[in-house]
Symmetry: C2
Subunit: 200 residues, 2 copies
């Protein structure tokens, strides 16, 4: 268990920004990243919180903060026309890819984020998700298509989200290292320090 | 205007942790700290959020995070028996001290935080606030007592809180540098970088 669990919802801009940094952070500390998609809307039920975009004042701040983080990262971030979204389709696809071509999980996740936040593409759509999967090298897009529309993968992603909620994931991004929880893009510096010092 | 505005509610543990670091951060960048107390409960009305301690799951995480930050800062932090509180009394006192002995604002604010989070004292009480003020060197505690119970200071603190809310303060701590907003203890590293680079 030498990994950093990276829990996220594709619909979360802060998860996107974290996705730009998390792999370098992991490499720095000799770790790997385990990508854990979940439905944040389900997690919000546990806390009574709601989407940042729909929270007055705080939503304005978040939009300002996202633009600032984008300038810092030198990426042409743009809030998608349709946002937030229910991110089941790319999330289910990620879980399937994890089983069959583990090495493509990170490229696929990053391709989804890029399509959504840079290219303003609707990543809820099956055709978009399949196209992104094919582009990063998924061998059998036909099998993937069958899988993401099957009941088994629906149940698995639902269960996956429930597991996250049960373990205390209430926001995105959310990280665990050896069970230690870190919430938020803005906790990455503390996570970095935690790994460097081996905790405290 | 070469200052860092530090907006906070004495009832916020994250503000306490920020208070331990903010002055060193300001000195590092040749700046001063302007201490701006407000009533977070009023700010919550604008966003529909509520006290961390009263938010399921997220409250558990916050308590874990506070203990972790306390170990990191090597302070004997303990969540007070009565928490959260309505922090009007020490906040009004701070505004009065700002007018008459500006140099005592930081020592007084830190004394209040220390009394609350280390000594578990009830900083809502007039006698506690007056005692803390006297200890840090306030000359006329008698005048302070008259002031904090007067209508003028009540109105002023209320107006002060409204000013913060109008400018978008929705959480504690909250910082401004030349109008640029930073929310949260966990945004201090970004604020540090912003000051070092002169923004971006």
């Amino acid at each position: 268990m030498n990994d950093i669990e990276f829990w996220f919802d594709f619909s979360s801009p802060y998860a996107y920004f974290a996705s730009l940094d998390i792999e370098a952070l992991a490499v720095k500390h000799g770790r790997t990243v385990t990508w854990r998609p979940l439905l944040l809307g389900r997690a919000f039920q546990a806390t009574g919180m709601q989407s940042l975009s729909r929270t007055p004042v705080r939503g304005d701040y978040a939009r300002h903060d996202w633009a600032r983080l984008a300038r810092r990262a030198a990426v042409p971030f743009c809030l998608p026309d349709v946002h937030p979204i229910i991110s089941t389709m790319p999330s289910r696809a990620l879980l399937w890819i994890e089983d069959f071509q583990l090495e493509l999980v990170a490229p696929f996740a990053k391709a989804v984020f890029h399509a959504f936040y840079i290219e303003n593409r609707d990543v809820r759509e099956l055709t978009t998700v399949l196209s992104l999967a094919e582009n990063v090298g998924v061998r059998s897009v036909w099998d993937l298509e069958l899988a993401v529309t099957s009941g088994a993968l629906k149940d698995r992603f639902r269960q996956h989200t429930e597991d996250g909620v049960r373990r205390g994931v209430f926001g995105s991004p959310f990280f665990f290292v050896e069970g230690e929880p870190f919430w938020g893009h803005d906790r990455l510096p503390l996570l970095d320090e935690w790994l460097a010092r081996g905790g405290w």
